[in-house]
Amino acid sequence: MASTSTAWIPVRCVGFPLLRSRFLRTSWFRESRHSHFQPVAHQFKRCQNPRDQRSIRVRCFGKARTNDSFNSLLNRRFQRFQMAEKLSTSEILNQIRSSGAVGSGGASAAPSGDAAPSGDAAPSSDAAASDATGSVPTKSKVTSAAKAPGAPASVLDSIRAKGGGVAAKAPSPKSAGDAAPKGASSILDSIRSKGGSAAPASKPVAKKPVPSKPAVPAGDLPSAADMLKAARGVESGVSAVAGKTASPVKPPAVRIKKPASTVKTSDRRSVAVAVFFTPFAMAWWLFSAASSVFLLGCARFMMPNVLVEPPTKFKIGPASDYPPDTVSTKWKAARGVWVVNTDQYNGNRLIYALASVCTHLGCTPGWLEGEQKYKCPCHGSGFYITGINFEGPAPRPLERVGIRISEDGMLEVDKSKKFQEEMGQWEDPASYFQVG
């Protein structure tokens, strides 16, 4: 599909109808027996605020043709749904009130005229079909959509039709021809066609169809100038319509949106307000602060009050308990050390204590008397009686722990000191006890 490759999606415009169509797709809504309720609220347009010439978005809420309470309930729900885009409380109240007024007061609540019920939408869509493309499938789809106006197809089609209808000659082959409103692309198309349509409507004198500007070739990003132009076209075009049809009764939800592109100095204070003082921001700041305090509190657990561990210094008896060329495993289960008496390391007869922790991944090797080696069961590392690694993946020798002869003539092991061979620490006299 050509249109799907267009990467540019004007989120502000498109996200909204997307949500809407999703909402409408619920069977609760579509299959409702009250299908004469007309959810025409999707028809929003950009208008021009006469005061500051900025783009404003007019949301035109639909009115129910009948006055039954279920419809008004739906209406209200519908509005609440639309208010997902942050309206102020007064605005919300305003809307609810106005919709109430609609229910009782008849056809006056759709002041912009575009928000007319489906009877209005059908002819315009027909016009669109015949004007823009004239293709049969589109037309049939449009008319069927007019029959079941609750369906998303109808929503999109009527948007599209409106766009096409306003632009008498606007060549929007993509939007009209590609009828199935399935994805963002079609919605995008509809928006775009609307933009395209609005341009000639605003400048009827020029009578230029403006074919290429809004309907961008597929895959190309529209330039900023194009986007601006299209947006302006929409604004001016719609404002004409809105100005003409605006009824004095009660303006429904009108929200002024400030363009984000121009940041003036006067906005700086509002930025600060937005970052620090809106309820939303304050909630986040509070949450972050509370989380930080909690994390700091967790760090406290790194320093426990009581450590249930055997003391790191312990007596292992006199040196005569460890005869030459033996590895004593009697301290392994309780303290995790082997006591070795050997002269194989540097020719001197030494007694030293090896930590029974494999230098590969920390498993506990076993001493194999027959093979005269320590062997790790996890990945097969092997160490000589001296503790030097020779097989398997262990990258360095076993570590010695501190040993000394204490004042009472007993050997004392100090596990808090480590001596690594590859760092040359086995030369340290604290790492061994020389016999004789």
Binding site: C378, G380, P393, P395
Partner: protein, 458 residues
Amino acid sequence: MHGKELTEHVVFGLGWIYLILVVMNAAWTVRSYKSRRHFELPEVFGGAEVPTAGIWAAYTAILMMIATAHFTGASNPDDFLLTMPDVIRNWINLMANPVSFFAASTGLFCLMIMFRRWLVQDHIGWLLLNASLVFTALSMTDYDFRQIVGKPDNVPIVAMLFIVGFFTWLYFKKAVENDDRIDQGRPLLEQENNEKVLVWPDLVYTELICMVVVTAGLVLWGIALQAPLEEPASSVKTPNPSKAPWYFLGLQEMLVYFDPWLAGVVLPSIILVGLMAIPYIDFNKLGNGYYTFNQRKFAVITFMFGFLPLWVAMIILGTFLRGPNWNFFGIYEFWDVHKLEALNNVNLSEYLWVYSPLNSMFGGLPTAPAGAGALEGAGYIFLREGLGIVLVLMYFFALPPILAGTVFRRFYLRMGFLRFMVLANLALWMASLPIKMVLRWSVNMKYIVAIPEYFFNI
């Protein structure tokens, strides 16, 4: 000696396995009979046309006799004759070592791809299933095999072997079918059999039934096979052998060849990131939504190589072939804690400085003199490991451009620089595992770069 460990229960249970095989093959015989397939006997036997179903019927009858023999002979297990022959047992044990295992799994992988057209025939698949089941049943008469396979831990792995085999076969069957269709210009399998059904009720009902069946199966499993609980854990006592959960046995096998931070942190991360990157580095638009092999040869072979020989086969290796002290044992071999294997490993730097003429010239490994500063020490380390560092840097930085210019030229042109570099690096990381394994086995290479002073080993 082996026959002695046969018990009445084992023989009786094997009788049930053969009975299940009988039922399966009876159904297959019926299927074969309905298909009316014939084949010609060789001239020696007269060259007559024989229905294929006849062969299957005969095979089923033999299985029936074997099953009967198990049921009747169960009372006297010592004299039971239908066991795995000792010749085969000894031969398999003799052949069992990591090198031949890896070579065999890689070889099988290549054969599977080369002969996929032969493999995907229905009766070949059925034959292979039968062969594996009969082999398993025969092996169960061996005590040591039973000890490994019968562990409650290992039951799901045995099941997994069959499941992986079946789904691989199924993939090749559909892919070969589609490849033929593409060659002949016919519509794809997925297009022709495109029967759309409704989510509700068709899919949801199926899912519900699956859910109930799986739950029931798990409950029964949990009742029948007790969880293997052991003594309370102790920080100074490690079980021997100490095995990871079965799905991590591939990682544990990697740890035998690599430094912990590499095999335990870097490689798993690269595996995960690499799997995530596949959609972005894949430039082949074909094969989307249908099975095919010919249109996606590189992708399929690369993925399957990473999955089958490098992951599933490593799980098999870790589960069934690694015993105490992480030594390698044959499937019929007694797990001897004192089995001696010469695994003296040597670093590349030791090869360079100690086991070469350089030893007499410089006197062993270059070591910093006593009292040298940290910087000087680092300089000596770089001198010592220089060759390894250069080799590793060349592997990761010189090889990709070379590949881009030669073997993967087409890839490079189609993918562009960045995507190709990602692909090349992922492929090189994947290849580093078999490379290191082969180096370890062939020349006892421990580490190419070994800097234990800073816990950096490659």
